[in-house]
Symmetry: C2
């Protein structure tokens, strides 16, 4: 349940639903794009690792442009609505373990609504 839930809404179909942006823009586009930053490979890796970890009620999905291109590669995890910039396999592993297995957060990779550039490493 959350502020937007209503009495009688069905139970969640997935416990956690991850959307990884794999949108591609033309080369040289001022906003850049997640695909050019390797998001497809990272999504593939995340999907495979989630399976290996036995996260059966977690779905790793591709998505079209999430419109936070400057912050990419971006992903958002629902229903909690937490956004991450995840730029390497090591960071994917960190989000899987800390957020999806343990229910915690990888604070240094999280995106705030007002962010205009990715978190510094």
């Amino acid at each position: 349940m959350n502020e937007r839930s209503r009495a009688g809404d069905p139970a969640p179909f997935y416990e956690a639903h991850v959307f990884c942006c794999i949108n591609e823009r033309p080369a040289g586009h001022p906003r850049g794009c997640c695909k050019a930053k390797g998001s497809e490979g990272l999504r593939d890796y995340m999907k495979a690792r989630a399976k290996e970890l036995g996260l059966a009620r977690v779905r790793i999905n591709s998505s079209g442009c999430l419109d936070r291109c400057e912050l990419g590669p971006t992903m958002v995890i629902y229903p909690e609505g937490v956004w991450y910039n995840v730029a390497s396999r090591a960071e994917v592993d960190e989000v899987l373990q800390k957020h999806l297995v343990e229910g915690g957060r990888v604070a240094r990779l999280m995106l705030k609504p007002e962010d205009k550039t990715p978190p510094a490493r």
Copy 2:
């Protein structure tokens, strides 16, 4: 806030985030696919209508396979996690108005976790 939220999570970036499956499977695949049921055109229509309605904090997104192919065209609206089978422009309009503008539900088009076939019309 919901069961998966944590103190300190940033405010939501979108008020409502809609993911429309546009996955395509090879012709004749036993599960079918949302694209073959017209999901791309319906997503385009939904995006355009949401804009016309001035739903600035609502994002209509494409997604890869949501893995509920038999129930397609499927969409899911977060953070509430409500799933719909939406098969025509009239039904898109209904979900936009009733769910996204008014915060209600289009009960007859909603999917329950155990559903194996789309709601009867």
